[in-house]
Amino acid sequence: MKRPTKREMLSDLANSLDNALARELVQKYGERFNISDVEKLLLAKIRKEISDEAQDNQDQGLSGL
């Protein structure tokens, strides 16, 4: 009987999660077991959400009031 690998364990964890972003984070970690990959992914998501707001500001002409 063979013990499941680290990757298989993390894959099982990912599959048990409802949240899509949480699944993505676990899968990202499972690629190289490097938490900085997860950090980069999270920061990219944060950047996107914030810059969507900056885009909204421009569209609404809020800058240079």
Binding site: M1, L13, L21, E49, E53, S63
Partner: protein, 805 residues
């Protein structure tokens, strides 16, 4: 992986290089404590699993900060090393690790340098280690429940969850501490607290506090509140103009003092987004310079080639203006440029990047300046306000803004502009290869610039807030305005600012959403780990129980199971039974039972569930065990004998006798370790197959007198084996033959098994060299050549008589 040989030099107890053949099914190493046998185990641990278990289990790890792997007497220039030759998937592999410095290493497979041994395709994680070291046998049992959880995780291969959980917690803390989040949180909280204190915009306060944060809800709430204030529906995009109009309406009803109308500044948010983009461009340029500096070709040379070929007209060289560039030469130059095309493209990208940095720097400086007041207007306002007693203090405050605050803000903007200018100059010099690239220095400058930019914006915001405060103060004292209008004036001013600060709400929302997600993920991983542990522990427990029962058959004190402790703590309990009563084995088991339990834990995970490794190695497994338990352990080892190489180390001669009796002396490769000197342990091959004895003899035949004597001893033993095997082929019982004195073996072979005289004469000659004293010869007269002849002759006889071993 099955072991064939191990070679050690300069590592732990080994100083001079020693090779130990291990190519046999059953190997026994006897040696008293301190004889160096555990150094062999540690060599295997370090080679394959990265460290020695003794250090991993130590409670004083700081003692291992110094050179604990290198032999203290080793002073050769070559690196210490451990090398194993083994069989893996039917192929022989040579695996070596050099020790570099205190704990560094280089790995080699088949002589090739590799990053690590993952290329072997076998599990190199600790829970797969087929070696059970001394400290580990009891280590699992005799430990705290929470530490046992970690151990179980490793045994079950679940420690990845512990690691993942810890790293997620650290990441969550890192996000919580990020400057951007902390700044935005401060601004958002200040805005919300102000709203709460003033009891303004309650629906906005509520929406801002929702989890998860919804920016849309905050915007909707704000627009609804605005509609109430303004009297009509207003979208945030138009709110600025509408609010300004409302304020003007209120001011028109004011018997306002002279000067109030002069106190105007740029509304709207500070250029935070532009600042972020500029910093990103700068850091991007630094990274690109770093990549370019790694390319070996001079930038100027590439540009020179590119320009030269552009200026080439026909065959005329652009320099000497003579027709010296042949078609072949042009082709060669173009090919050369093509190989450096990536460098050229990098340079072009950098040039564009630097232009972007320049443009953004200029735009930012201008944007920052716009938010500062018009000093002449403000000075005039201060002059107009101060004479009237009612506005005197406000006039003084305006004067302070003009004389102190604005100059301070301008100074910070100047510092930022100077830094930006300085950086641009460095970039330009780098582009023209006029200066050395120093990544650390540039990153340091970028960090200082970021701090100065933030400081500048904080100072400018403080100036704006002060001006707003002064305006509110003036309006608050103005005649002709109702309390309602005064409040409305202040509220409308605050809402104008709030709209600009909504970005901070978004930043906080984005961060808190991700921080919350990490918290949920940590809990989910925790729950998952516990659930999976519980499932696997059931299977593990039944296997452990099987082994425990084999080691302690029929006893009324038996191991039952390992279970997670109830509740949320990450702990694991051991359960046992004594005459039907549940007991705690940690506190109630005897030493021998504890060892049995430790061994029972080892076998399922590191033997049964470990197909990558074809050997079992037990280092002094019989601590506190009596003969019965020792025999049961050997029963278990014999069960695995068919598919695993068995290697046992012991300091107990009695255990070794039992081991030999049970496995059969004829089936064991046996070594004895004795304490040598500063060169390392003395390892003598006591018994083994003919092949190994002759190999060993061969290695020693050219050595010192003592070594030649030992070689002779091995040759003699090989002859004994030869006759045992020969007589066995004639139908005689091998086990009985091993009990015969060696002289009798030869006689029996001649007298009752037809061993021919001609071959006996060769044997006799070999014995003269192998055991000269018994033949009336001086051992000092035996030369290497004599021994070599004896070895070759015996090999030939072994082949002729089809004797295996």
């Amino acid at each position: 992986m099955r072991l064939k040989t191990i070679k050690i030099r300069g590592f732990r107890g080994f100083n001079r290089e020693q090779t130990i053949p291990l190519d046999h099914d059953v190997i026994l190493i006897y040696g008293l404590n301190g004889s160096g046998k555990s150094s062999v185990v540690e060599a295997l641990e370090w080679l394959f699993f990265g460290d020695i278990s003794r250090r991993a289990r130590s409670s004083c790890r700081s003692e291992y900060m110094s050179n604990y792997l290198r032999n203290v007497h080793y002073d050769e220039p070559e690196n210490p090393f451990v090398e194993v030759t083994g069989m893996l998937n039917g192929a022989e592999r040579v695996i070596k690790k050099d020790l570099i410095g205190v704990a560094g290493h280089h790995c080699y497979v088949g002589g090739d340098l590799v990053d690590d041994f993952s290329c072997l395709g076998i599990s190199l994680e600790n829970h797969s280690k087929p070696i059970l070291s001394q400290g580990e046998i009891r280590g699992f049992v005799d430990t705290e429940q929470k530490d046992r959880w970690e151990e179980v995780s490793k045994i079950l291969g679940l420690e990845i969850f512990s690691v993942f959980r810890t790293e997620l917690q650290e990441l969550r803390t890192k996000l919580q501490n990020r400057d951007e989040y902390q700044r935005a949180l401060k601004q958002k909280n200040a805005a919300v607290v102000h709203l709460q204190n003033k009891k303004w915009l309650p629906t906005v306060v509520e929406a801002a506090s929702q989890t998860p944060y919804s920016h849309g809800s905050v915007v909707t709430a704000l627009e609804t509140e605005l509609a109430t204030i303004v009297g009509k529906k207003v979208e945030l995009g138009e709110a600025g103009a509408v609010l300004e109009h409302l304020r003007d309406e209120i001011l028109r009803r004011v018997q306002e003092p002279k000067g109030l109308n002069l106190l105007e500044v740029q509304t709207g948010d500070l250029p935070e987004v532009e600042a972020e983009e500029l910093l990103t461009s700068i850091r991007g340029a630094i990274e690109q310079f770093g990549q370019l500096s790694e390319q070996s070709v001079e930038q100027d040379y590439v540009k020179f080639l590119h320009l030269g070929l552009r200026l080439l007209k026909g065959r005329t060289c652009p320099f000497c203006e003579k027709e010296t560039i042949s078609e072949e030469k042009e082709m060669e130059l173009r090919e050369r440029l093509e190989t450096h095309q990536p460098t050229l493209e990098s340079i072009e990208r950098l040039e564009k990047q630097i232009t972007i940095v320049k443009e953004k720097s200029q735009a930012l400086s201008e944007a920052l300046d716009k938010h500062l007041p018009d000093l002449p207007k403000f000075s005039l306002a201060a002059e107009q306000l101060q004479p009237d007693a009612l506005w005197h203090s406000d006039g003084v405050a305006v004067q302070r803004v003009v004389e102190q605050r604005v100059p301070a803000a301008q100074e910070t903007i100047r510092e930022v502009a100077l830094m930006l200018d300085g950086l641009q100059q460095v970039f330009t010099k780098l582009l023209h290869a006029q200066t050395e690239f120093d990544q650390q220095d540039l990153n340091g400058k970028a960090n200082i610039l970021e701090q100065k930019l933030r400081a500048a914006m904080t100072v400018i915001q403080a100036v704006k807030s002060e001006i707003e405060r002064i305006r509110n103060s003036i309006v608050g004292k103005a005649k002709g305005l109702s309390e309602d209008d005064k409040n409305k004036f202040e509220l409308v001013g605050f809402i104008s600012d709030l709209i600009g600060q909504l970005r901070y709400f978004k930043v906080v929302g984005a961060y808190q959403d991700k921080i919350g997600l990490l918290t949920q993920l940590i809990s989910a991983a925790d729950r998952f780990e516990k659930q999976r542990t519980g499932e696997l522990l059931g299977t593990l427990s039944s296997k452990i129980r099987e082994y425990y029962e084999k080691l302690n058959p029929g006893e009324q004190i038996q191991f039952k199971e390992i279970v997670p402790s109830p509740g949320i703590s990450r702990q694991v309990r051991l359960k046992a039974e004594s005459y039907g009563q549940e007991i705690n084995p940690v506190t109630c088991f005897s030493e021998a039972h504890m060892n049995s339990l430790g061994i029972s834990l080892y076998f399922p995970q590191r033997v049964d569930y470990n197909p990558d490794w074809d050997f079992i190695l037990l280092d002094d497994p019989i601590q506190s065990m009596d003969d019965d338990h020792s025999n049961m352990l050997i029963d278990i080892l014999q069960e695995h004998q068919g598919n695993k190489q068995i290697i046992g180390l012991s300091h107990s001669r009695h255990f070794c006798e039992i081991f030999e009796a049970r496995f059969g002396r004829e089936n064991i490769l046996r070594y004895e370790f004795t304490q040598g000197d500063e060169t390392g342990p003395r390892i003598s091959l006591q018994d083994g197959p003919i092949r190994v004895l002759l190999e060993r003899a061969q290695e020693l035949a050219h050595g010192s007198f003592e070594e030649r004597k030992t070689a002779g001893g091995h040759l003699r033993k090989a002859i004994e084996r030869f006759f045992v095997e020969y007589l066995a082929t004639k139908g005689q019982d091998k086990i009985s033959l091993f009990k015969l004195p060696h002289k009798k073996l030869g006689e029996r072979a001649r007298s009752s098994a037809g061993f021919p005289d001609s071959d006996w004469r060769d044997i006799d000659a070999i014995l003269t060299y192998a055991n000269p004293a018994a033949h009336g010869q001086d051992p000092k007269d035996i030369k290497p050549g004599d021994l070599n002849w004896g070895i070759r002759k015996l090999e030939e006889l072994t082949k002729n008589y089809h004797i295996s071993g």
